[in-house]
Amino acid sequence: MTVGGNASSATGGPADGTRLQQLQALGMLCGFSAGAWLGAAEAPTKLVTAGVSPMVVSLLMVAGVFLARWSLPALVRGTAQIRADFHAAPHLVIWGVLAGCLWAVANTLTIFAIRDIGLSIAFPLWNLNSLLGILWGVTLFRELRGAGKLRWLGVTGGAAVMFAGATLLAVASSAQTTPSHALRGIVAALGAGVLWGTMYIPYRKAYLTGMNPLSFVAFFTIGELGMMSALAISYSGGAAGLAREIGHAKPALFWLMLGGFVWVIGDVFQQYAAKYVGISRGIPLSNTNQLWGLMWGILVFGEFHGQSGATLARVVAGSLLMAAGAGAIALASVSQGEHERWRKAAQREGVRYGVAEGYLRAGLEGREAESNSSGKKGRNWLDWVLVLGATAIFLWLASAAHAPQIAMNWTAAGVLCVAMLAFLLASAIALQKVTKFQ
């Protein structure tokens, strides 16, 4: 069903209930898919990080992210559509670059946090970003306004329960680590959470304005790679020092960039979740990545082998709490009243930055704006250069990569990969069917 023919939409009124339900279900599915892929992104880095500096790890992941963020949108929509989005809302380039800078600094902080207090303690600390996301969603973008007490309770209570579950998992996982420089690690993890929680302000601003997530990530990555390169050069004692460090990390390049590539797939789903269910719901759902990270740790890398029954009980209880919290949020659907508040927040953007009303409305309703659809469609030579170039770089790096020297359960890894692919396929098909990747 398309919304273009909907009478109420055409007059600027709210989209109809059926369409809202479709977009709601799509956003929730994307949130869960984001969790699966973001949780798996740490797995390749686990294979290779020994002996590689945090800055180089972060830079190489960002390089993988950069390749993925230009090649995937080129493959799915074509760069002509990115240009059309830029012409419709050029001011969003600033927010895209700003969000990319926030991501790069946050990602670097997480690497220091993992080094100082371990992944298991750092993870729930930076996952506090979902609570900050709810705060920004409510105060700046009118999310949850007019939603009713039950939906408020579902979202805020669900996020609080997820946080409690994450804390239990952290307590259980702390048996695995011997924290050193605890204060520094905690500050780094909390700092990353604040940066990531605030990064959702640009996300939400872009999607209220009607920008396609695949266009926004292309602008985002310019800030991301620029900031990360500046940090890496600065902290490596200059470009020559950085080049030496990258040269030493050559066997690890493929795995680190693969981690970045996997992360991008998760992030694209997170962006669609933020677009269709808002940041107050989409971000907590994608934070189920901690559960997936735990599954990779336990099932594939055998992290809890030989631990006590009490530790395993905490893992099970924490996981159940996180799943219950995510379920509560998934059930707190967006009402017509709340969607109307979103529309008003979008109008504010339109008036302030001179964005066409039709473009704003099409974005909120998950369809292509007429101003975009009248342009050239399909892929051009530049799109194929980007896709083939990124593929060639990954194949070249794979040929120089060393096989991981770590004990792994390959059967479990295969099962998790199949589950991730199932989420990928289900979300991609739903996005194509309901919104044509708008």
């Binding site: 600094v105 500050v187 700092g191 902290y235 930055y353």
Partner: protein, 41 residues
Amino acid sequence: MTSEEPAKRPASYWGAVLSDVHFWIPAIVLLGGLLVLHWIQ
């Protein structure tokens, strides 16, 4: 004007951006993050 036509563009994009709280909150948080990173290093 139809709904697909561009609305009136602001007289100054930079003026609109710099007076938008949606810009300043992330900008200040970014600055804070860089300071934390500097302290950690």
